[in-house]
């Protein structure tokens, strides 16, 4: 028995026939071996197979039926179309093919017979030969397979049984066996442990990461504090938190006690106009406020600004319970159910949809985020999001605000960084909220899915302002339903870093039986190295990943983003110029300044807050603030590149994410207008064309600049150092061109992230003379700027491509296509996704 057989305990639950089959296969099973056209993962066993099956395609896939072979392994249900190209044995393993679904995503198996349908459970027996097999999935897919008359009857029956018995029932403890099925083989573990993380995104794990973010946002007056390094101050906060520079760690330590779970106000983001966005939990009221504490609390709360607005997210936003209920209803509504025949009649669809309140909740999140975005735009404020626990709605709103305001967050890398920052590191309780272990039903609430839907709403209203695509959001949505990713399998950073202990505690062997594979250390089996969800190459085929991004045409980033604090005088929108120390409270769309807002200021009890501080905020400020909000609700702002994306929230403008919730094959028409599958939508076609030309321009100008500036010729090699390992992961293939394009799309955005790795990467010696100021002006931003500035004329004659960049070297970030000349091809050997981003040597 080779690898992956840790899950053979399952055999005991199977009918003997299947068991035999499985055993007979697994004997000669090797990694990458092509099992009747299925490219298995290392250690993956085919349990059952049915030939001449047809899969019903959704409208998006082109509709109709696709003939092929259906497989059930102990990790997934796979479907291999008839004439799909032979899998490459040397290719890296990909968890899911384009037509596959993991067993963990399956919720229900329904067999459709000649005259009846039956929900097939592990214990049920079929009294008819299924003609159709319908898989209802937790990610709201409905996958439908049709058995041909030529499908051997036994195969149709057997595979139905096998799937019904193998898919993961909702039980605590099955998560680990599933993880082992997918990632447990030795090859897979080795493969995963050699895998490098995407260096192009910010992981927010080290203090350097945070410092890079501060620099990217142009935030001054803030510092990264490691006072919570051992999670002693707050167990749910991350190790590093950004706080005002003025507050020393010793002072900071005293503030934790004043907030629920020690979740003090922390910096999230700075708006280019200079406002800061913070988030915090509710105040601890029953605590005595020392005079010194008060000073520190005020400092922490106000940050570097004089005026502070506390935005209440506790009251008017949906609670996790609301969200869970809404999502449950939405699922029931969208999936329908042919086995229970309780699907909502079509003429009641709209009102039933309304009754789920899902769209209401989306609207309230978007509205709140738009309000906050408008406040931030308005000027020099500290806007603090406050939620009792600071672990749900604060995540939603703070990240939505950034998606609306910061073009960087609309790229794949930027968005992933955002999720790292505001969700994963900030301690959103993914594990409890997703409830993988089925042990926290009361806590379950798809808050993150609500967020994804909100992002999708923004995406549909402003598609050309996003580099990430709807397909990307969908992939992320689906990955959430696979309990394989370290990103989602913990509730906070502390848990994540103690994962191995956590797992061995929570693991209860199914049926008390588990065979340890020979030759592995004892703690190994319960610890398959879990990849982060951002490792897309592990999950999806390159074709699918190519659709994750779309080239963006708009010049996306205003120069002031990087040093917003210098730009205050240019700001015509500055309405708010309040008295120092004014605090306002935004709740239900209106401002107030209640005296008891800050517990240490409310006179009774503490009394130590000096009277002079308790002046009422100037009355003229309230209208100013309200004006800011009105601007938001009218959304009169003509979308400028750097204005926030303020979505329309009128009834008909908030829509159902059809591509996600209604993509079940049952909703698809049998035939649709055939878009030849080889053909892209004309817009995409054009987009790629533009992208290619852009590449060519970049290449042409980098070629010419490297010839004019010999010193830069060494730079490709420096970028290679950081990304060379990736070359192995993605062997260059003929189709790599498309992928390159996909990845190159990112450079349209100021990926100052690239600068993040500079201190770490040993490339500074390659360019001792590189001007530092270049980091503050990502060449990409100016590249898209169509107007050459006069200053640029002084440089090389091609600098107009990059705006007014005085030095030419940024050109090297565009890695030339494979057919480039020898000096180039050295850098071309980077290959793969990361190489393309080749960090600009600056």
């Amino acid at each position: 028995m080779l690898t992956g057989s840790k899950t053979t305990f399952k055999v005991r639950q199977m009918v003997p026939d299947v068991k035999d089959r499985m055993l007979s296969h697994s004997g000669h099973h090797t990694r990458g071996r092509d099992m009747f056209g299925l490219c298995c993962l290392p250690g993956e066993c085919v349990l059952q197979r049915a030939v001449l099956v047809r899969k019903k395609l959704s409208a998006k896939e082109g509709g109709g039926w696709l003939a092929g072979t259906l497989f059930c392994t102990h990790f997934r249900v796979a479907f291999v179309p008839q004439d799909s190209p032979k899998p490459d044995d040397n290719a890296d393993p990909v968890l899911l093919g384009d037509h596959d679904v993991s067993l963990s995503s399956i919720e229900k198996v329904v067999a459709v017979g000649p005259s009846r349908t039956k929900l097939v459970t592990p214990n049920s027996s079929l009294k008819f030969t299924p003609e159709e097999l319908v898989l209802y999935c937790r990610d709201l897919r409905v996958i439908c397979f049709l058995f041909d008359r030529l499908t051997p009857e036994t195969q149709a029956v057997e595979i139905t049984y096998t799937i019904a018995k193998t898919y993961q029932p909702l039980k605590p403890g099955t998560v680990l066996s599933f993880q082992n099925a997918a990632l447990g083989s030795i090859e897979m573990k080795q493969f995963l442990s050699n895998r490098r993380r995407d260096p192009n995104m910010n992981w927010f794990e080290s203090s350097i990461d945070w410092e890079q973010e501060l620099e990217r946002a142009g935030a001054t007056g803030w510092r990264v504090s490691s006072v919570n390094d051992r999670f002693e101050m707050s167990t749910s906060l991350s190790r590093f938190n950004v706080v005002p520079q003025k507050v020393l760690d010793t002072e900071l330590k005293k503030t934790f006690a004043h907030f629920n779970e020690g979740r003090i106000p922390r910096w999230c983001w700075r708006h280019p106009r200079g406002s800061d966005l913070l988030r915090m939990a509710s105040f601890q009221n029953n605590i005595y406020h020392e005079k010194d504490d008060i000073r520190n609390l005020e400092l922490v709360l106000f940050g570097v600004q004089q005026v502070c607005v506390v935005v209440d997210l506790g009251e008017e936003m949906p609670s996790p319970g609301d969200i869970q209920l809404a999502h449950t209803r939405l699922r029931a509504l969208c999936l329908g159910d042919i086995s229970a025949s309780v699907s909502v009649p079509d003429d009641k669809w709209l009102s039933t949809l309304e009754g789920t309140h899902w769209l209401d909740y989306i609207r309230s999140c978007l509205r709140k985020a738009a309000e906050v975005a408008c406040l931030l735009r308005g000027g020099h404020l500290t806007v603090v999001l406050q939620e009792p626990e600071d672990r749900d709605m604060n995540c939603v709103v703070s990240s939505l605000v950034q998606v609306m305001c910061d073009p960087h967050c609309r790229t794949v890398a930027g968005f992933q960084g955002l999720v790292q920052k505001e969700w994963i590191m900030a301690g959103h309780r993914f594990l409890s909220r997703i409830n993988y272990h089925r042990d926290s039903d009361k806590e379950e609430a798809p808050v993150f899915l609500l967020f994804l839907d909100c992002v999708w709403q923004l995406w549909t209203q402003f598609p050309s302002r996003f580099q990430l695509s709807g397909d990307y959001l969908l992939a992320l949505h689906d990955s959430l339903h696979m309990p394989l990713f370290s990103s989602f399998l913990a509730n906070c950073q502390r848990e994540r870093s103690r994962r191995s202990q956590h797992l061995s505690q929570s693991y209860t062997p199914v049926n008390g039986l588990r065979e340890l594979p020979r030759g592995s250390s004892p703690q190994d089996p319960c610890d398959p190295p879990l990849p982060p969800v951002w490792d897309w190459a592990l999950q999806y085929s390159s074709q699918r990943r190519a659709r994750f991004t779309q080239p963006v045409t708009q010049p996306s980033c205003p120069p002031p983003l990087l040093n917003g604090n210098l730009n205050t005088n240019l700001d015509p929108h500055r309405h708010v110029d309040g008295m120092a120390g004014s605090v306002f409270f935004l709740s239900r769309g209106s401002f107030s300044s209640p005296s008891n807002l800050l517990p240490w200021r409310s006179g009774a009890g503490s009394g130590s807050y000096r009277k002079s501080h308790r002046r009422a905020p100037s009355a003229e400020m309230l209208p100013g603030l309200e004006r800011l909000l009105r601007a938001c609700s009218l959304s009169e702002v003509r979308p400028e590149p750097h204005e926030p994306l303020l979505p329309l929230l009128l009834g008909p403008c908030v829509k159902v994410w059809r591509d996600c919730y209604l993509r079940g094959a049952l909703h698809a028409q049998a035939f649709t207008h055939p878009m030849p599958s080889s053909m892209l939508h004309p817009v995409e076609q054009l987009a790629w064309e533009v992208q290619q030309m852009r590449d060519k321009l970049a290449q042409a100008s980098s070629t010419s600049s490297s010839s004019s500036c010999s010193s830069s010729s060494s730079s490709p090699s420096s970028s290679r150092t950081s990304s060379a390992p990736h070359g192995k992961q993605e062997p260059r293939r003929s189709d790599s061109n498309l992928n390159q394009n996909a990845n190159n799309g990112t450079f349209l955005f100021p990926s100052s992230r690239s600068a993040c790795y500079q201190p770490a990467a040993p490339r500074s010696n390659a360019h001792p003379a590189a001007p530092l100021k270049a980091t503050s002006r990502p060449p990409a931003a100016s590249f898209t700027c169509p107007q050459p500035r006069p200053a640029g004329r002084d440089g090389s004659k091609h600098t107009f491509l990059f705006g007014h960049q005085p030095d030419n070297r940024p050109a090297q970030r565009y890695i030339p296509p494979p057919h480039a000349k020898p000096p180039r091809s050295r850098s071309g050997s980077n290959g793969g996704s990361s190489g393309i981003h080749g960090n600009p040597p600056q």
């Binding site: 409208a59 959304s635 004309p682 987009a687 060519k696 057919h819």
Partner: protein
């Protein structure tokens, strides 16, 4: 004309009156400004910085009422209230002195409803000239020839040349080869308003046909007519359909109720080789009420909290769904080789919806810009959809029970299809909007009058301009950049409430918040940006190649072979902008 400096009058348009007025804008409050009325339009421009402009063809006005009296109290309570056919209402306030509204009210009333005052409609006054004559878009013989007619089973008949057989049908009809003109006369006696079954469309491969007609005159006594039965049998035999399917667009009960007024449906015993299917589409009155409810929820304010249930209670989308799914059934039957007969009561409302939508699904020619014009000209205009009665062109009788948004419903169905198949139609949303705008405007002769007969009498083709003249002189505006030509397959839209959408950019376009999106759809905007960017890059690439002589040894090697590819690509793409 200096006061109307910023609006170009149409040739033949003349100013009638202008007046200071207050427009009570539901979105911006009361706005002072000036209103101009010509024989074609009402134009309002507000004073002040934030200029609000209204430009409404008088034809779009459905009703003009006085609001308040000389003695009514309250600010802006004295004035006019105008109900428009295009989903908006307007309120104007005037000074409460000296009967200030009398003249404007009378002028508006006269020019908005010229037919009720013995005046000509603007289409007859217009002096517009276009490069192309849209009246030549549809030539029946050409269209039938395109379909491959006549065949050995179907012939072209001129029996209706003088509108003697049926006054609401066109002159050229396609009928079974075996049916003599005498037969046709006999059948006509048994079909409501003599609208006999005639061919609308024939499937090139399987020769299955779509035949349209009106209801049989069965009546309470259950009359039978041998000629009619034989005639339907001929239709069935033409391509050896085993069972001819008769689609009655009405709900079953309505069809039964029609017997009381002499109508009815084809009974089982009389038509043994036919099966009758009721499609449950409601009548014109139901549709009118549904649209009225829809207007209530979209203008001026759009509700947020209960939007979906309000929308559901209008049943508008449900009606759209029934029409679409009826058309899908027709198209499906025909594409599988069975001939069908479609009728409702008189065969000019629901029948036209079903046949034209089914044809749109079956025949990609109708999905082109010109093909769509032909489809409308053929199935709607020539076959006598009663545009004049349904829209009430130039008629003051706003409560006329004959009015109904049947044609709007068709365009909505077409829009739903373009949404579901964004690459299948050569025309874009703008064409659909312009069609609807001029359905009411009376600027073109295209949608005036009820039938060909009336149009001939009024010499429409000579005296008025066709809407298609406007459209075809500026095709670039109406081209869908994403159109991908594909001819072989049938388009079946998903007719489910889950996939139908309200046409927000039409029904809610007067809402300033929606307006942003009306101008250009996000996808199209993106397309335009990309095109601009491509041109820009192309220029730069060329510049690079031209200007770069010194380092070009480097450059040309690497980029010349590839630089050719963008130019190649360009030829592949339609570049309408």
């Amino acid at each position: 004309m200096e006061p109307l400096g910023d609006v170009t009058l149409l040739p033949g348009e003349e100013r009638v009156i202008d007046k200071d007025i207050i427009y009570i804008c539901p979105f911006n409050g009361a706005l002072k400004g000036k209103v101009f009325i010509t024989n074609f339009r009402l134009y309002f421009k507000s004073d002040g910085d934030h200029v609000v402009v209204l430009d409404i063809p008088l034809g779009a006005i459905g009703r003009v009422e006085k609001m308040g009296g000389a003695s009514s109290r309250g600010e802006n309570s004295y004035g006019l209230e105008i109900t428009c056919k295009d989903m908006r209402n307007l309120r104007f306030a005037l000074k409460q002195e000296g009967h200030s509204r009398r003249d404007i009210f009378e002028i508006l009333f006269r020019y908005a409803f010229p037919l009720s005052h013995g005046l000509p409609m603007f289409a007859f006054l217009s002096q517009e000239k276009f490069d192309e004559n849209g009246w030549h878009v549809y030539k029946p013989m050409e269209e039938y020839r395109r379909q491959g007619l006549p065949t050995d089973k179907w012939r072209i008949s001129f029996v209706n040349e003088d509108y003697k057989l049926c006054d609401t049908y066109p002159t050229i009809l396609v009928v079974p080869y075996k049916a003599t003109d005498d037969d046709l006369q006999k059948v006509a006696t048994f079909r409501s308003r003599c609208r006999i079954p005639v061919l609308s469309w024939i499937h090139k491969e399987n020769q299955a046909v779509i035949v349209r007609c009106s209801q049989p005159l069965v009546g309470m006594s259950g009359k039978r007519n041998k000629d009619d039965e034989r005639y339907l049998e001929m239709i069935r035999e033409a391509n050896a359909t085993t069972k001819l399917t008769i689609y009655d667009a009405r709900p079953n009960v309505n069809a039964v109720a029609n017997k009381a007024t002499g109508g009815g449906y084809e009974g089982d015993d009389a038509y043994q080789n036919a099966e009758l299917v009721f499609l449950d589409i409601h009548n014109i009155h139901v549709m009118r009420e549904s649209l009225k409810k829809l207007k209530d929820i979209v203008y001026p304010n759009v509700e947020e909290a209960h939007w979906l249930s309000s929308l559901e209670s209008t049943h508008w989308l449900e009606h759209i769904k029934l029409v679409l799914s009826g058309a899908i059934q027709v198209a499906d039957k025909v594409s599988s080789g069975n001939s069908v007969v479609v009728h409702c009561s008189d065969g000019w409302d629901r029948t036209a919806q079903l046949t034209s939508l089914a044809m749109l699904m079956l025949d990609s020619h109708y999905r082109t810009l010109r093909g769509f014009q032909v489809l409308l000209e053929k199935e709607w205009i020539s076959f006598g959809h009663k545009f004049a009665s349904r829209i009430g062109h130039g008629d003051k009788n706003h409560a006329d029970q004959d009015r109904s948004p049947i044609f709007l419903q068709l365009i909505d169905c077409v829009w739903q299809m373009t949404k579901q198949f964004p690459t299948a139609f050569e025309f874009n949303e703008r064409l659909l909007m312009v069609i609807l705008d001029h359905l009411y405007s009376c600027r073109f002769g295209t949608f005036l009058y009820n039938c060909e007969n009336a149009r001939d009498i009024n010499h429409m083709r000579i005296k008025t301009v066709s809407l298609w003249s406007l459209v075809n002189s500026d095709t670039a505006t109406y081209i869908n950049p994403f159109y991908t030509e594909e001819s072989s397959r049938v388009l079946y839209p998903v007719a489910s409430m889950r996939h139908l959408e309200l046409w927000v950019t039409y029904y809610i376009r007067w809402n300033p918040r929606i307006q942003q999106q009306v101008c250009v759809s996000p996808v199209e905007q993106r397309f335009r940006e990309l095109l601009a960017l491509r041109d820009q890059y192309l220029k730069k690439l060329q510049e690079l190649q031209l200007s770069d002589s010194s380092p070009s040894a480097h450059l040309s090697n690497s980029s010349t072979p590839s630089a050719a590819s963008p130019t190649q690509h360009i030829t592949h793409l339609h570049t309408p902008f």
